[in-house]
């Protein structure tokens, strides 16, 4: 997607959230096909459909679908595309949503395909940044946690790179941002730093700190995990160290990487971020069905 496309989604989400656009899915039917469970994303899409006046049906459990009877993915998509105006697909296989979009006569929204992309998360992250800081460019944005495997931070990096921002990657050495992504930033002349010590971020004057969970299963040695998880934990003291204006985001669910004491601070915008999934997905559904333009 281009910078203009991303801006269009963010601006439309803003109008939806302010109540200036409504009823744009009247008479439209949305299928939510979740071939792997993801309750939060599915409920968020379904809520977005209802709030925009549309109807929704779908599968939440792949074991209950005809795929469990041996039907191919391609046949499922061809069939369901005749039942709805737009399909929302979550699938554990990378590229499943793109394949569906080629087979389906109706638009397809990717709600996550394996380790590849989760674009609607990126859209709602951008919307939250714009809403909170008034712009998407010339910001200093820190990303912290599992930068090696986290698809959220990879997609967000790609998107933020289009808007001339400075990026600071904070992670243990074993979970650094992949080299191919850093090379893309180099090629595009995007300013970035990679650091492993959160304290160093105190000098960066961050506008946003985007925190992600470090998954225990990434570490062979549980002791090593405990050590790393303890270092990359955000508390009130961390916020004070980073600067009083820093906003803290997180794609959720969190485990213990952000202390609950942070929730009440004005810096914490991760629940607003989660709620912004609704207007963002409303905007996307409206744009792809032609209900909005």
């Amino acid at each position: 997607m281009s910078q203009d496309d991303l801006t269009k989604v963010v601006e439309t989400a803003d109008l939806v959230k302010r109540g200036e656009l409504s009823g744009f899915l009247n008479g439209k039917t949305v299928a939510t096909l979740f071939f792997e469970p993801s309750t939060r994303t599915r409920l968020s899409f379904e809520s977005a459909v209802f709030k925009s006046g549309g109807s929704v049906f779908g599968i939440a459990n792949p074991k209950a679908s005809s795929q469990s009877k041996g039907e191919s993915f391609a046949d499922s998509i061809r069939t369901v595309s005749g039942y709805c105006d737009v399909m929302v697909i979550r699938h554990p296989v990378e590229g499943a949503a793109r394949m569906a979009s080629e087979l389906s006569g109706t638009p397809v929204i990717n709600a996550g395909d394996g380790a590849n992309q989760h674009p609607t998360q990126t859209f709602l992250d951008l919307f939250t940044i714009k809403e909170s800081l008034g712009r998407l460019d010339n910001l200093k944005i820190g990303m912290m946690g599992d930068l090696k495997y986290g698809r959220t931070v990879h997609s967000l990096t790609d998107a933020l790179a289009m808007f001339n921002n400075e990026l600071i990657f904070i992670s243990p050495p074993s979970l650094k941002m992949p080299r191919h992504i850093l090379k893309e930033l180099d090629d595009a002349n995007i300013r970035y730093r990679t650091i492993s010590d959160l304290e160093e971020a105190g000098d960066c004057d961050l506008d946003i700190l985007y925190v992600t969970r470090i998954q225990k299963e990434r570490f062979g040695d549980p002791q090593e995990y405990e050590k790393v998880a303890g270092v990359y934990r955000i508390t009130q003291d961390t916020i004070n160290m980073l600067g009083k204006d820093v906003r803290v985001m997180h794609p959720l669910p969190r485990v213990d990487e952000i202390a609950e004491e942070v929730d009440s601070m004005p810096n914490a915008i991760y629940f607003t971020q989660a709620h912004n999934g609704i207007p963002t997905r409303q905007a996307l559904l409206g744009l792809v069905t032609g209900g909005l333009n």
């Binding site: 191919s72 993915f73 391609a74 554990p92 296989v93 990378e94 590229g95 499943a96 793109r98 394949m99 080629e102 395909d113 394996g114 380790a115 590849n116 992309q117 191919h180």
Partner: protein, 152 residues
């Protein structure tokens, strides 16, 4: 004295030279010519470019298109193409990497839709210098190697 040809010359067709040994058979597979026409293959000739030697492939009565010969660059970027008509070389052709490749390379990502769900194999050129292609489905970029050639 008559020169003794190790690989017989052809009257009409396409000669592909400077294929690194032992990739001649893989070039045939890339071109999809496994069961088609008459071909002569020479393997392991001395070569200044290729320390392990070079292979030569002569395809009779078939003038390959640019679209076909460019596919050879995926595994043999230094290969040269000569088009032969009535025993004479009528065209010497350089090859260049195709910007798009369908149905030739398999994605090495086991969790890609091409390997799990039957999506068609489809890559786009990412970096000409490193011969890197990106899978259209799982979006992973890979440096091409001969092991990626799809089996039919």
């Amino acid at each position: 004295m008559t020169r003794a040809y190790k690989v017989y010359s052809i009257e009409n067709g396409t000669v592909i030279d400077h294929i690194p040994t032992p990739l001649a058979l893989k070039v045939i597979r890339i071109l999809g010519l496994e069961n088609e026409g008459i071909m002569t293959i020479g393997i392991g000739f001395n070569s200044e470019k290729h320390p392990r030697g070079k292979d030569i492939l002569k395809i009779e009565n078939r003038e390959l298109s640019y679209e076909e010969t460019d596919k050879i660059a995926l595994i043999a970027p230094d290969a040269t193409i000569n088009i032969i008509k009535k025993g004479e070389v009528v065209e010497k052709r350089q090859i260049t990497l195709p910007s798009e490749v369908k149905d030739i390379l398999s994605c090495p990502n086991p969790n890609c839709a091409t390997n799990q769900l039957g999506a068609g194999k489809h890559f786009l050129l990412e970096n000409r210098d490193t011969v890197t292609y990106r899978c259209v489905y799982c979006e992973r970029a890979t440096v091409v190697n001969p092991d990626m050639l799809a089996t039919k």
